[in-house]
Every structure is written in C-alpha cells, then in structure tokens.
C-alpha cells in the first residue's frame, strides 16, 4: 500500500516522541509553533504541500494537549482550495480545531454550501462530513434543505446519501424544526425501502432520533422496520460484506429495534406476530460461542431484543423467558455479559412487575456484589437497591453492611446512602432501622453524610418506644475504644435527650453517661463540641436531686468554653451557664425536644436529585415510583413540607436549642413563650409594610406544635367583643379551633383599611395578607397580596369571597400553593350596585404542615369607598337641602353614646371617610355641614348632604341630619356615619335610640343571608 507520508511531519512527530521529558517536549513544540507561525505570516511563499504540512503539525500539537491559538484561519481557508488534497486537509483540520460556535466557521458556510450543491461527489462527502461533525444551528438553518435533497436524490450515489442522512441527523439535533417539511414522514418511510445497507443504517440512525422526539408522525415506518428486522434476522438477501462474524449487520438490527421501542404498541396483529416471531428466534437462538466478537455482536442484538420485549410487555410467557435468560447471564464467566445481565434486570424492574421472579436470583446478585470488577459491583448494587422490598430488606441491607467494610472508597458513600434509604423505607421495625444506621456510622463514618444521622434522630424523637432502645444502643457504641465523630454526634444528641430513661440500668447513671461523653470531647472537632455541651446541660437538668459534684464539673466546662474562640461554642457555654445558674427556667428550656413534623426523607430526595451519578438514578427513580413503603414509615405523607433541605435547617435549630430562639420562630416557640427573658418574634410590633415582614429575618421552617399563646387569646377575645358591638352585617368569626393565632388585631387592621387604601389585612406566623386598593366611582380594584413568610410552601390555599348583594366582586384565580417566601397577587374587581353597609368577607384557608387554618376576614370594600368628596357652594347646598324636604329622603336622628371628641377631630374623621366638610355654611360653630357624592351602578352619582349638630355641654350626644335623592342611601349613610361616631369598644347597641323619623325599609333581597342579617340587626 502507498504511504505517501510527509517527511517534515514525520520528523516532527519523532522529535516530539524522542523528548525525554515534558519540558523538552514543550520546548520542541514551542519551536515548531514559532516556525509555523512565521511560515504562515509570509503566505505567498507557501506551496499547497507546505500549507498542508503545517496545518497537520498544528493539529498534532493540538492533539497533544497544547493550545494552538493561531492558524485556524489557515485551516479554514484550505476548505476553499480548488484541489482535493488541500480541501480534504482543510475540512478535517477545521472539524478538529474549531467548535460549532467558532466565528471562522461562519466564514466557511458559503464554501461548504457550494461544495454540497456542487456536482463533485468527493467534495460533497467532505462537506457533509464536516457539517455532520461540527455543524451548528446556523448550518442547520442554511443547509438543511440542500442536505435533505441529497438524501432523497435518486441520482446520488450511496456514499453521498449515507453521509447526508447522518449530516441531517446532526442538523436535526441542532434545530428540530428542519424536518417540519410537508411529507417528510412519508419520505422517511420511503427511505426504509433502500437496498443499500450503508444508506439504510444511516437512515435508521436518523429515524431513531426522529421517533424519540415524536413517534406520532412516523407510524407508517413501523411495519417497514419490522420487515427490515425480519429480513436481517432470517438472513435473507444480505450481502456478504454486511455480515459481521456471520451475523447480518448486528448494528442495523439493534438500531431497528431501537426505533420500535419508541412506539407505544403495535396495533396491527400481523406485524405484531411477525415481530414476536423474530424476537422469539433471537431470544432462543442466541448461543454463547467461543469467538468474542461474534459473541458480543449476537448479544448486542439479544439485549436489544430483550429491551424491546420488555417495552412491548408482551405475553407474560416471553417475559419470564427474558428473566430466565438474564438469570443465566448474571452467572456466566464472561464479564460483559454478567454486567449487562445485571443492568438489564434493573431496567426490567422498571418496566414490568417481575420482582418476584427476580428475587429468585438474589443470592447470585449478592455474589456479584463481591465481583472483582467495580463496574459489575455497581450494577449489582443498583439492582439490589431496586429489587429491595419489605420481604427482603433485612437480607439485602445486611449484605450491604457486610460489603461496606470491604467496598472501594469510591463506592462507600453511595453504598451507605442506599443502605440508609432501604433501611428507612422497608424497616420491619424501627429498632432494626436504628441498628442499621448505627452500624453504618460505625463502619463507614467518613461516608455518612449529616442527613443520615439527622434522620435517625428524627425517628427517635418522634417514636417514644424507640428512645430507650436508641439510648442504650448508642451507649454500647460509645463504650467501644474507637468511635467515629459522627457516632459521637448522634450519641451525644440521643443521650442528652433520653439518657435519663436508662438511669436505672447499671453503668448508665448521669455521671457515667457524662464521663462517657466527656471522654470523647478532646478527640472531636468544633462542630461536635456544641452538641456535647447541649448534652451536658440536658443531663444536668435531669438529675434529681441535683448532684453537686457533677454540677460543678459541668459548670467548670461551660466556664472554660465561655472564652472559646468558636462563636457557636462560646455562645452555648455562656447561655447554658447562665441558664444553669438560674435554676428553675432551665427545666423548661432544656425539656425534651418536641416531635418533628413529618417530612419526606431528605435522603430519598437527595438520591432523587443526585446528578453526580446517573447510573444509580434509574434505580432510585424506580424506587421512588414504587410506593410500597410500609406503614411504619410515614415520612412520605407530607411531601409538600420543607422545600429545601428540610432536615438541615430543622436540625440546626434542633441542635442549637436555646441560642436560636431569638432569631428563629421554630418548634421551640412554646419554650420562649414561657420564658419571658427571651424575646420572641410574636412580640414584635406588626409591620404595616407589606414586604418588610415577608422578607424579614424570619425563617420559620416547620409549623410549631399546637401552641395556643395566651396573649393571642386575649386579642381574639377582645375582638369578639368588638364585633358584637360593631353590629356590621357579617363579622369575622375567628376560628377558635385554629391553633394558629393572628399577629395583631384583625378588627383594627380592618378599620384602618376602611380609611386608607393599602395595608395589612391579616397576618399570622405563616402568612401575611396585604391589600392595595384603587377606587374610581362605583368601581374598585383591590389587589390581595398573599405572602408566605416561611421557607416551606403554604398549600391548599383557598380564597372565597362572600359577596353581599349590593356588590359585584370577581376574584382572579388564587394559586393552590404559595412557594416559600413568595408573594402572590390576586386582583379583585369590585362594582358597587347600590348603597348598603353590608361587608364582603374573604373566607381564606390554607394548610401549613399539619395545620389547617381558616379565617374569615372582612374586606374593606365598604360604603365610604364609593364616596367622592365634593365642594358645594352655600347656594347649591341650601337649594338641595330645601328641596329634600323630609323622610324618606331626609332623615334626622339624635345619637347618644358618641365617642367624645373635639369638633375638629370629628371633622377630620368625616373627611377621612371622604365626606367633605364645608366650613362656614352653618352659622353655628358647634355644627358641621358636609357634602359628598355617592357612586353606584344603578344610580351613578348622587349628592349627599350631612349636617351634624353637637352639644358643647354633652359631647356624647349629637343630632345628625342626612339628605340625598335616594331613601336607601340616606338611611345607609346615616347609619354608617353613626357607626363611626359612637364609641366602638364600650357602647352597647341599646344606646342607639330608635330613629326619630319613620324608618324606611331597606330593600332586602330575600335570598341574601348577609342582607337579611343586616336587616334584622338594624
């Protein structure tokens, strides 16, 4: 054969290879780069041969891993050379040196296109190859039609068409729109009739990509694929050169079966039968042979057939055949087949219900866990993880634990995580679970992430029966001579909480427990010391009667750490010491931790989202799909709880008991409430700013326990009273069953909002509802701002507006869930139909953790919002006043029990209701005259006139006269103003005397309960 080498290139390569070390090599390379650079500078003197040579040298240097930052243009320019040899070098070097986003590539697009549409098929091939390897989006947009033409052209030879097919595949991956051409699917189907197997193989690759994205368009290809498969499998009419070790193109067979896996089913019975015959033949007719390549090729086909059978989920008979085959494979000597056997068993678990049959092979799979090949061990681990359920969890987890000691370091973390998840999911009893985790920590402490020990602490805290057992168990581990630090952490926590339960056992006196823990202190890092200090404080608290000696010992330790350089340790030492010395309050602060809210296991979450190793993902995904978890483990019931690493946050506060109280309103709220010395969030003044609270430093992770705080009871009691006095048609009835108490006084917030247009309507530890309103005539637009103050989502959010008959209200969609720390805005449109004092109510409910909260809140879409102040002249006022001569258009009433206030204050009050005081109209300085317009849909604008005559001698009574062109409006407005003037908290309703004039009956639609109620009360 001809070796038309390049001497210069060969010399350079052997020079580089002969370099003794990296420095020499670098030197040689630098020299060459300098040389090439110089030669390129002076282009005219370069022959085509030299150009080629230097470009090859550049490529070689690049392949060795050196940066080549010049000469790219030279490579690109060779593409447009007229002769084949230069063009060829140009295309190949460009494909290697440039990526698809390189600017120079754009310069070449035109040349490339000319080569593709030109007549020279060798040029076409070169151009298609480069585009197929590095073509980007721009190429897809400008070249796709030309490439499609080549693929479908009957005049092109196969060598061009097969390249066109794969080039199109590349362009399709860059821009899937390129196949959105009429009739493309039909042409694809036609391509499958191709006789040339090179073109057919390439087209099949293209088809795999197309159907994987959208199989719907390509149904017509399905029978053709089956036909091709049949033709190949029966070895009909396949040219000798397309057989590989006697097997008719195994690659084409594999690709064809791949295509079929993207169709959900095969409807046509004939096609289906044909396909199953072929598959049956492949499954049964594949024997293990001596020749490695033949064996590999035939098994490549076999495994693809298995995948197809699994996908089509055929007659169960075939499925069990598959499992039997796989069972055979996992026991063979050939490592590749063993590996694939395990891998495919894991895949099989995902698609069909064959768990029981696979379980029969458990022993063999466990043997594979000890395989010399780490790749095989990984697959075995995946499979064991996937096939684990309640019945075999004990065996499998025990095997994993055993294997842990001998496993490679690269696998230990994965292994321990998987063992921990399985132990949690399928624990036959929780003490076993504790055993497993402690063993894990003992055997592979370095590989145990914090999540794992946090989780066991959660279980122990939440299960009373487990506490004594866990305490005894960790003590056993602590007795061992060498203990991992993670074990010290978990032991310190558990013994701090529960060692008193062991107090009567030998060797478990508080003193002994303390010294056992304290022994470990010199060996641990600063992250563990705080946990130990907490444990000491808790142990001390549990001793009855106090042990002076132990106390002084522990105090001495706190004393010592009071000046520790680590802020966390120092803070704890100072606080614990102060608490200890106080005596009594210590009891409460250091009481047992409350139960944790149920959460989805962060381990499982971590496993689900782990991106590091997608190999394991399949099995984990599969696990999470199978909800066979047993009843003991209730962790999955509240998946909405805690969006981001719930355990780490929750656990943080758990471990840092008192020091966190000041900043975190967590499960320890009740403790801080009882201890007045520590301030609590709830006592902060409620902020009027909508955002400041939401974005404030609160970080409430889980819902607090059912703690009813006394101060809030007082508030709600007060509120109840005021509501009764208030006499509005509908009053918010605070759900007394709610364990969540509002922050601030709901009634006051409402009254404030009646006067202003934005503010907070409601607030509790989880949520804040703000309102912003705009009023124009009889229209109003309110926006409710629902803000979640927590780091966990608020779910099952429901907002229903109970609309009184005189309003038309439309609330936009309220989302079901408010994400953590998010605020959603819900616009609410209001139209006022006619005058009424009825109040719309927002029935708002949500769920946070296990708390279902429901509140009914009055909305400040009240009568005065539809008023517009208007300035009238004395003339206008008096002519109107006179024309509205008496009831029902003009009403007068003597009001008693008025909140005593100076006249200017009353004037301000009226002004704030948009009833405009007209000074100087009434000659008597003790009287007020005011005017306003009322807007409603039925009546548009109506002028209302008000006169209030006060008695300077008795400020608690006054006479009020109202006049307007509408009897209902007159009455309603009079009542409204009266409500505002009488003293709210104290005045009993009876104080209001019957109206002096005959009362007009307000129009009450019979079906409106709110209005009826209003009618009854007034």
């Amino acid at each position: 054969m001809t070796m038309h080498g390049m001497r210069g290139l060969s010399v350079f390569i052997s020079d580089v290879r002969n370099c003794q070390n990296k420095d020499q090599e670098r030197l040689r390379i630098d020299k060459e780069l300098g040389n090439v650079r110089n030669r390129f500078k002076n282009e005219k003197g370069l022959t085509p041969y030299e150009k080629k040579k230097y470009v090859w040298k550049m490529l070689y240097i690049y392949m060795l891993g050196y940066d080549v930052d010049f000469g790219h243009m030279k490579a690109v320019s060779l593409i447009s050379a007229p002769k084949y040899p230069e063009k060829q070098v140009g295309y190949i070097v460009t494909s290697c040196l440039l990526n698809e986003n390189h600017d120079f590539l754009r310069l070449a697009i035109n040349t490339v296109r000319n080569d593709i549409i030109g007549r020279n098929e060798t040029f076409q091939c070169l151009a298609l190859t480069m585009v197929g390897n590095i073509g980007g989006r721009e190429f897809a947009e400008s070249l796709a039609p030309d490439v499609q033409k080549l693929l479908l052209s009957s005049s092109c030879r196969p060598l061009v068409r097969k390249k066109a097919a794969l080039c199109l595949l590349r362009l399709y991956r860059k821009n899937p729109d390129i196949v959105n051409v009429d009739g493309w699917a039909d042409r694809m189907a036609q391509l499958l009739d191709e006789r040339d197997l090179g073109v057919l193989t390439s087209s099949m690759s293209l088809l795999v990509a197309l159907v994987s994205n959208n199989h719907e368009a390509y149904w017509s290809c399905l029978p053709k694929c089956v036909k091709i498969l049949e033709r190949l499998a029966r070895n009909q009419d396949v040219p000798q050169e397309y057989t590989y070790y006697g097997i008719p193109s195994p690659w084409l067979q594999v690709k064809t079966m791949r295509v079929l896996q993207y169709f959900p089913t095969i409807e046509d019975p004939y096609t289906r039968r044909t396909l199953f015959e072929v598959l049956q033949r492949i499954l049964m007719g594949t024997d293990v042979v001596k020749n490695v390549n033949k064996n590999n090729a035939s098994h490549a086909v076999l495994f693809e057939a298995l995948a197809l059978v699994m996908h089509l989920d055929a007659e169960k008979e075939m499925m069990s055949q598959c499992v039997a085959l796989l069972g055979k494979f996992i026991a063979v000597r050939e490592p590749n087949i063993r590996y694939l056997g395990l891998e495919n068993m894991t895949r099989m678990l995902m698609v069909t219900d064959v768990q029981e049959i696979i379980k029969r092979h458990q022993a063999q799979i466990i043997t594979s866990l000890k395989d010399p090949d780490v790749s095989i061990r990984r697959r075995a681990l995946d499979l064991l993880y996937g096939m684990c359920d309640v019945t075999n969890a004990k065996d499998i987890v025990e095997e994993l634990l055993q294997y842990l000691s001998s496993a490679d370091f690269t696998m230990r973390e994965e292994l321990s995580l998987k063992a921990a998840i399985l132990a949690e999911k399928f624990a036959p009893d929780l003490s076993w679970y504790v055993d497993v985790i402690l063993q894990l920590i003992d055997k592979a402490g370095d590989f145990i992430s914090d999540d794992i020990w946090f989780r066991v602490v959660q279980f122990v805290t939440n299960n009373d029966d487990l506490q004594t057992y866990a305490a005894a168990k960790v003590k056993e581990y602590l007795d061992k001579p060498a203990v991992h630090e993670t074990m010290v952490k978990v032991s310190a926590y558990i013994l701090g909480e529960y060692s008193h339960l062991l107090a009567r056992r030998p060797g478990c006196s508080p003193k002994e427990i303390f010294s056992l823990l304290h022994e470990k202190l010199p060996t641990v890092s600063t992250t563990t010391i705080p946990i130990l200090l907490s444990a000491y404080a808790k142990i001390l608290m549990h001793i009855h009667p106090p042990d002076q000696e132990l106390q002084s010992q522990i105090w001495a330790i706190f004393n010592k750490y009071e000046s520790c350089i680590d802020a966390e340790i120092q803070q704890r030492a100072v606080e614990y010491l102060a608490l200890c010395q106080r005596g009594a309050p210590l009891m409460d602060i250091l009481a047992e931790m409350p139960k944790f809210p149920e959460r989805k296991s962060s381990l499982i979450k971590r496993a689900e989202y782990s991106e590091a190793d997608t190999a394991e993902q399949s099995a984990i995904k599969l696990r999470s799909q199978q909800q066979t978890s047993n009843a003991l483990v209730v962790t999955d019931q509240h998946p909405a709880n805690g969006a981001t690493s719930p355990i780490s946050v929750g656990e943080l506060s758990l471990v840092k008991v008192p020091s966190m109280i000041t900043s975190e309103n967590d499960t320890s709220t009740d403790l801080s409430q009882q201890n007045g010395a520590l301030s609590n969030v709830d006592t902060q003044p409620p902020s009027a700013d909508l955002l400041s609270d939401i974005l404030g430093p609160l970080a409430i992770e889980g819902p607090p326990g059912a703690t009813v705080q006394s101060e809030h009871n007082a508030i709600s009691g007060l509120e109840g009273g005021s509501d009764a006095v208030d006499g509005s048609a509908i009053v918010p009835v605070e759900e007394q069953t709610n364990t969540v108490q509002p922050i601030g006084n709901v009634a006051e917030r409402f009254h404030a909002l009646c006067l202003k247009d934005s503010g907070v309507l409601y607030e509790d530890p989880y949520i804040q509802i703000g309102i912003k309103a705009e009023w124009r005539g009889h229209h109003g637009r309110l926006v409710l701002f629902l803000g979640n103050k927590n780091t966990a989502p608020v779910v099952s959010v429901q907002a229903i507006i109970l609309t009184p008959a005189h309003l038309k209200m439309e609330l936009s969609l309220v989302p079901d869930t408010i994400p953590p720390r998010a605020q959603v805005q819900c616009p609410l449109e209001v139209v006022n139909l006619r005058p009424s004092r009825d109040v719309a109510v927002l029935d708002f409910s949500y769920k946070f953790g296990t708390n279902m909260v429901n509140v009914k809140l009055r909305l400040p879409a009240v009568l005065n919002k539809f008023l517009q102040p208007i300035q009238v002249t004395a003339e206008e006022f008096f002519s109107q006043w006179r024309s509205l001569s008496g009831p029902p258009l003009k009403l007068q009433e003597v009001v008693r029990g008025v909140k005593p206030m100076p006249l200017p204050e009353m004037a301000n009050l009226l002004n704030s209701f948009r009833i405009m005081i007209c000074p100087g109209l009434d000659p008597n300085p003790n009287n007020l005259v005011a005017s306003t317009t009322f807007y409603s849909e039925s009546m548009r604008a109506i002028l209302c006139l008000v006169r209030i005559e006060t008695d300077p001698a008795d400020r608690t009574q006054l006479r009020m006269t109202l006049a307007s062109g509408d009897p209902t409006l007159t009455f309603e407005l009079k009542e409204f103003i009266k409500e505002q003037l009488i003293s709210i908290p104290t005045a009993p309703r009876e104080a209001a005397p019957a109206p002096a004039a005959a009362q007009p009956t307000p129009q009450i639609p019979p079906n409106d309960p709110a209005a009826i109620l209003a009618g009854l009360l007034s």
Partner: protein, 168 residues
C-alpha cells in the same frame, strides 16, 4: 459520542486521541473541561482497570466502552441507555479496518499517520453514529481518496516538471 484513543506510556498516558462530539450536552461538558483533562481523567479510570474485567465503566454520568489492543486503548463515551456491546463491536470493526489498511496495524502506524486514521474514522462514524458497516466499502472509499491525492500530486509534479523544463 466521544471517540478517543490513547496508549500507555511512561510519562505520556495519552499519545493522542480523536474527538467526535455530537450530543449538545457532551459538547458543553467538553468545552468546560479542557480536552486534555478529559483524556487524563478518562485515562486514569481506564488504565487502572485490570485485565479480564468487563469493557464498561461509569464516568461522569456516561458510560465509557473501551477495549485494549496491545498498548493501545480505544474508547467511546456513550449515553446510559445506549447498547454497550454494539459500541464495543464498533471499536473492533474500526480496528479491523485499520488493520486491513495498514496491514497488521501497530501503534506507530497510527501515530505517524494519524491523519489517515482520521480519514478512516470519517468513513466509519459520522455525527457520532455508525455510517458504514461494510469493511469492503470503507476500504474502497479510502483507496479512492488516496488515489485522488496521488493523482493530484502527480499532476502537480508533472506541472512543476514542465515549468522547470520550460524555464531551463
């Protein structure tokens, strides 16, 4: 699909490699990681594996299918759900074609004629997919390319002869 090839040496783990990248996310990954680093890392994983183990390893969420021929390792990086054995035989198919072309191929053949290896690979794989499964066809196409280059060279030399004679 990444196609690479490297050989064992004392200081130089990698002798050289081919890269054919198709899937967008692999491209991203490769551009973030320097090419040399990919090879060094992958080389570390593969060279540490003893004989008689299977031909597949997990690597950065992909699978790498590799095969050793004397001191040369050929490897391909594939997706998790690709058919491993099929890819393994693509490697062998490539080696057989190289063998046929060079006549009992050895490492030095590939090093000194790396551009040839590129030509051959371009006839075998495109867009990361297998393009031609017939050894005969590939051989024929490469031979045709060679003869094109030869012809061009002869023409060039004959032209230069003519010019040389004319200028005498």
């Amino acid at each position: 699909m990444v196609f690479s090839l490297f050989s064992e040496g004392e200081n130089k783990v990698l002798c050289w490699c081919f890269f054919y990248v198709t899937l967008a996310f692999i491209i991203l990954m490769l551009y973030e990681m320097h090419f040399e680093k990919v090879i060094r890392e992958l080389g570390g994983v593969i060279l540490s594996r003893g004989p008689k183990l299977c031909n597949f390893v997990d690597w950065r969420g992909f699978k790498v299918v590799y095969k050793r021929y004397a001191s040369l390792y050929f490897c391909m990086c594939i997706d998790q759900d690709d058919n491993e054995l099929e890819v393994l035989e693509i490697i062998h198919h490539f080696v057989e074609i190289l063998d046929r072309y060079f006549g009992s191929v050895c490492e030095l053949d590939l090093i000194f004629n790396f551009h040839k290896a590129y030509y051959i690979l371009d006839e075998l794989l495109l867009a990361g997919e297998l393009q031609e499964t017939s050894k005969k066809t590939v051989a024929r196409l490469i031979a045709a390319q060679d003869s094109l280059v030869e012809t061009a060279k002869e023409q060039a030399s004959s032209i230069s002869n003519i010019i040389a004679q004319a200028t005498k």
